[in-house]
């Protein structure tokens, strides 16, 4: 599924990475524990409720292309700049992590392979 479609499904606000909206996402990781993301993620998208620069760094290490912050959590300008530098799309949406995961699962996206 393209990032553009995901954005629409979960009614998310895009904060950076507009040129990445047509990239395909196949596998998604939902976690607040960055060590878990590092240990197991082979997805292209991360859904999290944690907001700090290490979220962007962690995503960078495991080649995640898009980060969704649940419950309207909003990264600061420094984090967005870092994501931009690392060529990632960043979005924020109102739904909880559970709801965002549920909606995307219902539409065919899956967790790690």
């Amino acid at each position: 599924m393209r990032i553009r479609e995901i954005q629409k499904l979960i009614d998310a606000r895009l904060l950076c990475g507009e040129h990445l909206l047509d990239e395909e996402i196949h596998n998604v990781c939902g976690s607040d524990l960055m060590s878990d993301v590092l240990a197991f993620s082979n997805g292209q998208m991360l859904i999290t409720g944690l907001v700090n620069p290490q979220v962007i760094r962690t995503a960078e290490m495991v080649d995640i292309r898009c980060i969704v912050f649940a419950r309207d959590k909003t990264p600061d300008a420094g984090m967005i700049e870092l994501a931009r530098e690392k060529d990632m799309a960043v979005m924020t949406c109102r739904g909880s992590m559970f709801d965002v995961c549920g909606v995307l699962y219902q539409h065919g996206l899956r967790g790690e392979e």
Binding site: D32, L33, M34, S35, D36, L38, A39, L50, N52, P53, Q54, V55, R57, T58, E60, M61, V62, D63, G78, K86
Partner: protein, 143 residues
């Protein structure tokens, strides 16, 4: 590629927000050198976990990386408190990390196990009150 490309970084122990910048630079260098993506990802994860550990537990340290055709060697040297029980530290879920580290999404006792999971060789020399040196070797598994 020459015999080895070496990179050295001073990892600042006071700036948690900046932790990971050395790993980021190494990842970029490995990509630019055309190393296989699978190796680049494993090396990035190993180095990042190590870098985070140095910041959380040891007030920083020095990271040295040697890149050779088909392999990456990462050495992380700190003058921290040392690891009293290495066997316990290697167990998934065991952690002595601070509340601050936990708030940032770490300290779940996954760092060393993750390094073991992704490195082809992991060696830890540690002495109480002197410091810890973690050495990891990662090889191109596609060769």
């Amino acid at each position: 590629m020459p015999d080895a490309i070496r990179m050295t970084f001073n990892v600042d122990g006071d700036d948690f927000a900046a932790a990971g910048t050395a790993s980021s630079e190494v990842k970029r260098a490995l990509k630019q050198l055309g190393m296989p993506p699978e190796l680049v990802k494993r090396a990035a994860i190993c180095m990042y976990e190590g870098e985070i550990n140095m910041v959380i537990h040891a007030d920083g340290g020095v990271a040295s990386v040697a890149i050779r055709p088909g392999s990456v060697e990462i050495e992380l040297r700190d003058r921290g408190p040392g690891i009293p029980d290495l066997e316990l530290a290697m167990q998934e879920g065991y952690s002595t990390a601070s509340e601050q580290a936990r708030n940032l999404g770490f300290g779940a006792g996954m760092g060393l196990p993750n390094m073991k999971r992704y490195a082809d060789e992991l060696k830890i020399d540690t002495k109480i009150g002197v410091g810890t040196t973690v050495t990891m070797v990662l090889r191109d598994r596609t060769r």
